[in-house]
Amino acid sequence: MSEYTLREMMTIAAVREINDGDIVFCGTGISMLAAMAAKHISAPDSFIFFETGAIDSKLEEVPLAVGDPRVMYWTAVNGSLADAFATMQNRFTGRQVVGIMGAAQIDIYGNLNSTSIGDYHRPKVRFPGSGGACDVASFVNRTIIFMSLEKRKFVRTLDYFTSPGWIDGPEGRKKTGLPDGGPSVVITNMGIFRFSSDSRKMYLDSYYPDVTPDRILDNMEFVVDVVDAVPTRPPSDNELQILREKCDPQRLIL
C-alpha cells in the first residue's frame, strides 16, 4: 500500500460517499476535489454543481471560491443563485443532490454552526455566516460534512444554530417541517462518523490508522457510541493515483 496524507484519506472517504447519478453540491477546497475525483473513480455520471449557479463545470484549474471565474468555464448551464437553490429545493431534483459542507461547530445530531461563537449580537468570534449552508442542509437528500475533530467543535450545544441536521432525533425534521433527508456522514481528520437510523445520533463508524476510538472521544465534548467502529479502509493505489494525477496535479489543495 502506498503512503498517503490525511487530506488524501479524507478526500477519498468523501469520494466513496458519492454515487453515480448524484448531483454534487460543493464548496471549494477538499469538497470540490472529492467531487472531481468521484467523476473519475466511482461516479462518472455525477454532476458537480455550485451554489453560484454553474452546473457541470469543466474545472481545468482549481477554483479558490465558488464565485471564481474558473467555475463558469465550459458548463452545461450557467444559471443564477435563484436557479441553484431551486434545484435543491425542487422535490424531484433535490432528491438527487448530495451536499458537501463544513462548519465551525457540530452537535450530536449533525446540526451546524457557521455563524459565530459567543453571544450572537456581540460574538467572541465571528465566521462568514450561513451562505448557502442552511439552504443546502434544509433541502437536500443527503449531506457529507467535513470537520476537524476538536473539543470546541464537537459540542453539546451550538453557539448559533445555522444549518439543520437531524434537529433532535428521528422525528426532528418532520416536526420542524423540513424535507426528508439529512446528514449522512461526518468525515474528520481522525475518523468517520455516521448517524443511527433509530436515534439519529452520531456514532463512530471507523477510525484511521494510528488512531483509537478513545483518542477520538477525548477530542469531543459529547460521547458517541464507538462499539461497532472498525479501522477505516485506506485509500487504494488506484484511488490515490487518480486523485493525484488527474484531479490535483499541482497539489493546490492536497
Binding site: 471549494t28 477546497g29 451554489e51 453560484t52 449557479g53 454553474a54 481545468e60 484549474e61 477554483p63 479558490l64 471560491a65 465558488v66 464565485g67 471564481d68 471565474p69 474558473r70 467555475v71 463558469m72 468555464y73 465550459w74 450557467n78 444559471g79 443564477s80 443563485l81 435563484a82 437553490f85 429545493q89 422535490r91 455563524t115 459565530s116 450572537y120 449580537h121 456581540r122 460574538p123 467572541k124 468570534v125 465571528r126 465566521f127 462568514p128 455566516g129 450561513s130 451562505g131 448557502g132 449552508a133 442552511c134 439552504d135 434544509s138 433541502f139 448559533y160 444554530f161 445555522t162 444549518s163 439543520p164 434537529i167 426532528g172 425534521r173 420542524t176 417541517g177 423540513l178 424535507p179
Partner: protein, 325 residues
C-alpha cells in the same frame, strides 16, 4: 433614441446623485467576482456614512465599505472572499467590536428577498431555515423595526401551508421583500441607455437590479445598442430599469470580470495583510482609495505587468496559469 437620452455620466456624479448618506444599498457580484469595485471605492472616497447594506455573498466590496466606515447596518448571508479571506476581515472586526448593526440570512433567503422586491410582492416562501437561529435570532429588534419605515416589522415568519398538505409541505418560511434605494452592478457591456449584458454567472445581479428604486450600471465597455439587440437572448437588464451608466474599464478590479480579467491575487493578498491591522488599514485607505481621485488613478498604482498577468484568456474567460498563491 438620440443622444439626448443618454444616461452616461461620470462615476463621481453617479455616486453623488444616487447614494446619499443613510441610503439602503445593494451591490452586485459574489465573493471575489464582479463586485462593482470602482463604485465602492468612489463611495468610500466621498465619505458616505450610515449606509444600510443588503448582501448575499458580496465579499470584497462589502468588506471595503464596512472597513472604511460607510456602513451602519448590514443584512447578510455570507461574508467571505474565498481563500483570500475565509471570513472577511474588516467585517469580522466590525462585528466583534460592535461597530455595526447586522442581521443574518441564508443566500437563498436573500436571493428570494431581492426577487420579491423585483416582483412587487411583500414576501416569498421557502423551506429553508426552519428550526434554525436564522429565524430565532433577530439583529434588529421589534421596536427598531417598528420605528423605521424602511424595515419590515418581522424578520422571518413561519407559516403553516395554507394549501394544507399540498406539495407535501407542512410549513414555509416567509422572507420579506427588499427594495433598495439604489443598487450598483458591474457588467461587461451596456449601451448609453442602460441595456446591459453580463457574461458568465449573473449571481443575483438581475434580481437586485430590478428590485431597486435606482440602478447604477458600471460597464467594461460602452457599446452601440445594435450590438446588444442583434443578440438579445444574452441581455439581462432592460434600459427602463437603469438610471445611470458609467463607463469604467477594470471597474470590478481587484475582483474578477469573466472574459475580461481575473481577480488579482497580489492585491487581495496585500489587502488581507493590511486589513488585519488598524494602522496599516488606515494607510491602505490613504494610499489606494483617498489618494487617487479616480479608479483610473488607482489602477495606475498597480504594476502594469500584474494587470497584464490577470487579463483573461479568450478560451477560458479567466487568466489561465495565473500565479494565485
Amino acid at each position: 433614441m438620440g443622444a439626448s437620452h443618454t444616461k452616461v455620466i461620470d462615476l463621481k456624479s453617479a455616486i453623488e446623485t444616487y447614494v446619499p448618506d443613510g441610503a439602503h444599498i445593494s451591490i452586485g457580484g459574489f465573493t471575489i467576482n464582479r463586485n462593482p469595485m470602482a463604485a465602492v471605492y468612489e463611495i468610500i472616497r466621498q465619505h458616505k456614512k450610515g449606509l444600510h447594506l443588503y448582501a448575499h455573498s458580496n465579499g470584497q466590496g462589502v468588506d471595503e465599505l464596512i472597513g472604511a466606515g460607510c456602513v451602519a447596518r448590514l443584512e447578510i448571508a455570507y461574508a467571505g472572499s474565498g481563500r483570500f479571506a475565509p471570513t472577511c476581515i474588516r467585517f469580522r472586526k466590525a462585528i466583534e467590536r460592535g461597530d455595526i448593526g447586522f442581521e443574518d440570512y441564508s443566500n437563498y433567503q436573500m436571493t428570494l428577498r431581492f426577487m420579491a422586491g423585483a416582483m412587487g410582492v411583500p414576501f416569498l416562501p421557502t423551506r429553508s431555515g426552519l428550526g434554525t437561529d436564522l429565524i430565532r435570532q433577530w439583529g434588529f429588534q421589534k421596536t427598531e423595526r417598528q420605528n423605521d419605515i424602511k424595515l419590515p416589522d418581522e424578520k422571518l415568519v413561519v407559516l403553516d401551508n395554507p394549501f394544507g398538505t399540498w406539495a407535501d409541505t407542512p410549513k414555509v418560511v416567509l422572507v420579506p421583500a427588499i427594495n433598495p434605494d439604489v443598487t450598483i452592478i458591474h457588467v461587461q457591456k451596456a449601451d448609453a441607455d442602460g441595456l446591459s449584458r453580463i457574461n458568465g454567472l449573473p449571481f443575483v445581479d438581475v434580481e437586485q437590479a430590478k428590485a431597486s428604486r435606482h440602478l447604477i450600471v458600471t460597464c467594461e465597455e460602452l457599446v452601440d445598442t445594435d450590438e446588444l439587440k442583434s443578440d438579445p437572448d444574452r441581455n439581462q437588464v432592460p434600459p427602463f430599469c437603469v438610471d445611470a451608466v458609467v463607463h469604467v474599464p477594470w471597474g470590478a478590479f481587484p475582483t474578477a470580470c469573466f472574459g475580461r480579467y481575473d481577480y488579482d491575487p497580489a492585491y487581495l493578498n496585500h489587502y488581507k495583510q493590511d486589513a488585519a491591522d488598524d494602522i496599516r488599514y488606515k494607510k491602505y485607505l490613504q494610499n489606494f482609495i483617498y489618494g487617487p481621485e479616480t479608479h483610473e488613478q488607482l489602477l495606475a498604482k498597480i504594476n502594469p505587468a500584474q494587470l497584464d498577468a490577470i487579463r483573461a484568456d479568450e478560451r477560458t474567460g479567466y487568466a489561465t496559469g495565473l500565479d494565485r498563491r
